[in-house]
């Protein structure tokens, strides 16, 4: 059976470190010969792992874009892959780096120059999930009924993703990380704002210049670990907790197993702390995590990747492959950063025409300005069982509300969860054969997600990266 190979790049710009991987995917039709084809990634191999470098900054608040780009192109050379050969992948800007002034600019600039189809992703929930995939925890979770929490502790944040049976059941992000307190020559060099806030209620908080071995440093670390334990036990209910970033834990099953990944985890499992050239609380935090009595009540599993979990996840785990029976106008691909609008199919109460009209109006209100229409993808996730007549009515409704405005810059983009893309795309073409249409299926997204759709591969499928661009604000 024929296979095809594509190349993917993953770049992780974290609070303290930046790294990159280049990997190769092998795609193959996995469906039986008597079935409709189903193209899947059957093999992923990492071709090149970059060294872990310190994230370059121009000033405290500005990332050094030039240095980052230099690093990336250097790695392409070492991997002996031309940037143009990269078909998919993700740049992910994580932890506190995502809050820097030029974070968005950096990510977009790099995604334009560093590969034909490199994309930008960020957002703490997604980071946690990508880390869990890259560390191998997601794969482990497919083989057990145990509820596993992957805790990726980097320089600035701890991103947790909780999984069972290979599905994410919740996420949470905490301000716990190695670089939240930095030292220099035995003295405190900096304290990050969440830690300052944490110490607000202390009678005598730490300040810059205090000794590095001050007992209050250990006290801060203790608070971090205790907060983590509370989250794992489902006991953190204070939305205003200074160490909480974003929402409260949102899973409803008790955690059985913990897996630590990220830079700090390297100190937990491998005692590789000598590799960390950073003078900060990372090592102490790792030691405290290992020694903490309450954390010992969980089962501990060692991940496949620690420091490189997120970058491996970004490079190898973010790409989906669309269904094989789809309808795409190859001329308008690739498409980048298309926002998704989930069109709820309330067919019991309303006609297709009303549903589409409302969805288009709502999507325009969200994504377009008065004088500039933006493309968006209509997502149908709960299509009822459709007859041929139903499909025709639906397609007529879609054309009624979208055909006039469509152009090669504004193609009609439809994403369907179930296997209907070919018939819907084909029916639209039958009714109006000039309108540019991208109709793909077997992709799970939500309103608020963005998708990138790559160029058509020889087997007729398209690579799709689902992402959320929600940058967390300070």
């Amino acid at each position: 059976m024929k296979t095809e190979t594509i190349y993917s790049a993953g770049i992780d710009i974290g609070t303290s470190t930046t790294k990159m991987v280049v990997s190769r995917f092998v795609l193959k039709n996995v469906a039986g010969i008597t079935h409709v084809p189903k193209i899947e990634i059957i093999e992923k191999s990492v071709l090149h792992q970059s060294p872990i470098i310190k994230t370059p900054f121009i000033s405290k608040e500005v990332l050094d874009m030039e240095k980052i780009e230099q690093f990336i192109f250097q790695q392409y050379e070492l991997a002996q892959i031309a940037p143009t050969a990269i078909a998919t992948g993700a740049i992910i800007i994580t932890g506190e780096s995502a809050t820097k002034e030029n974070a968005r600019e950096v990510i977009h600039a790099i995604s334009d120059t560093a590969g034909q189809f490199l994309v930008a992703t960020a957002g703490p929930d997604l980071e946690g999930i990508i880390a869990a995939k890259g560390s191998g925890t997601m794969q482990q979770s497919k083989n057990t009924a145990k509820v596993i929490a992957n805790i990726d502790i980097g320089g600035g944040t701890a991103n947790m993703a909780v999984m069972q049976f290979g599905e994410v059941i919740g996420t949470c992000t905490l301000h716990i990380g190695g670089r939240l307190i930095e030292f220099h020559q035995g003295k405190i060099l900096s304290i990050s704002p969440p830690i300052v806030k944490l110490m607000e209620k202390w009678p005598n908080p730490l300040v810059v210049g205090d000794a590095a071995d001050d007992v209050r440093v250990a006290q801060c670390i203790d608070e971090m670990v205790l907060t983590l334990v509370d989250v794992l036990n489902g006991q953190l209910t204070d939305e205003q907790h200074p160490l909480l970033l974003g929402h409260l834990p949102n899973w409803h099953k008790p955690v059985d197993v913990v897996v630590f990944s990220g830079g700090v985890a390297a100190c937990i499992y491998d005692n590789e702390c000598s590799m960390r050239q950073y003078d900060d609380i990372g090592e102490k935090l790792a030691k405290r995590l290992v020694a903490h009595e309450q954390l010992q009540s969980f089962i501990w599993i060692k991940p496949e990747e620690t420091s490189r979990a997120t970058v491996t996840g970004a490079g190898t785990q973010t790409t989906d492959i669309s269904g094989a029976t789809i309808q795409v106008d190859a001329d308008v691909l690739p498409l980048k950063n298309v926002p998704v609008f989930n069109c709820y199919m309330d067919v019991a109460n309303r006609s297709f025409d009303d549903i589409i009209q409302l969805a288009v109006a709502q999507a325009d209100a969200l994504f377009s300005t008065e004088d500039h229409l933006s493309p968006f993808a209509l997502y149908f996730n709960e299509l009822p069982y459709l007859s041929f007549q139903d499909v025709h009515t639906l397609c007529e409704a879609i054309l009624h509300h979208l055909a006039d405005r469509s152009s090669s810059e504004l193609p009609i983009i439809i994403v369907i969860q179930s296997d209907y893309a070919k018939i819907i795309g084909q029916t639209i073409q039958a009714i109006n054969h000039t309108v540019p249409i991208i109709c793909i299926d077997q992709i799970k997204v939500e309103t608020g997600d963005y998708i990138d759709i790559g160029e058509v591969l020889p087997s007729g499928v398209v690579p799709v990266v689902v992402k959320t661009l929600a940058f967390h604000s300070k």
């Binding site: 008597t34 009924a145 049976f165 007859s387 296997d419 893309a421 084909q426």
Partner: protein, 324 residues
Amino acid sequence: MNEQLVSMITQLVMEKMGQDTAATPIEASQPSVLKLVETAEAPNTTVGANEPLIKLYNGVAQSVSQGVASSIAQTTTEPAKEFQFEAGDVSDSVQAARKHTPARIGVGRAGTRPKTKTWLNFRLDHAAAVDAVYGEVSDELLQKLNVFQVATKVTDKEEYITRPDLGRRLSDEGKALIQEKCKKNPTVQIIISNGLSASAIEENVQDVYLALQQSLSNLNIDIGTTFYIDKGRVALMDEIGELLQPEVIVYLIGERPGLVSAESMSAYLCYQPRIGTVEADRMVISNIHKGGIPPLEAGAYLGTVVQKILHYKASGVGLVAKES
């Protein structure tokens, strides 16, 4: 049945009705009522049989007792409660595993046998499979699709099952009808047969056929005159190939029903089938039904397969060889 027994039952029933059916101490005596009615010859059966028995005969018991004790004054019986099995109580792991297979896993057991619910479901699926084989495609459907009907040399279902060779030949009337009504030398000839599952055709053929028609017309591929064959076998397409000389035949036929679905349809495709065509030259898209490949998507996909067959002038193994 002795009089004493009847009056005893009557008394118990009256008592029961007087006290409603709530879970009162009287419940303990309920099983004995049932037992007595059921096994009148042995009134000494153990009292207090297990609980599910009570549930099972909840409504029935009342009407039975009424029948037996016809001397009871007219009483208003509650309508028999609809019987329900206890809810399945399986672990998360089993539930997760179930998502990956339609097989009957994690169904539990009663002693060495399956539970009644499992057994009934199995019987139901088996009966549906048998019905699918022995059922017929309705005339309404054929009218809706605007197709005429021809027969094979098979006379009845039994013969269809025991003599596959006869299902591979058209009846003389059928041949004449096809020659009279059908367009000769079409690019694509679509044929439909109930095969081993009439319900597969009833459920799926309309959507597949309409989607396939649309797909072929989008691709500017010309279609012959579609017709329906009663009790056909796959290789019958060879004889039709001889008669009409099409480039490609798409043969929509009901699959042998299984216990997962009795409504699964296949589409067999062949480039220039003629008498003597080998099986390796045929290809199939199977498992077309609501729970498998959605009929509409299958129809849309079939169009592209036909296009490929026409492009390479080959089907089956020959197509795979030419493609690579």
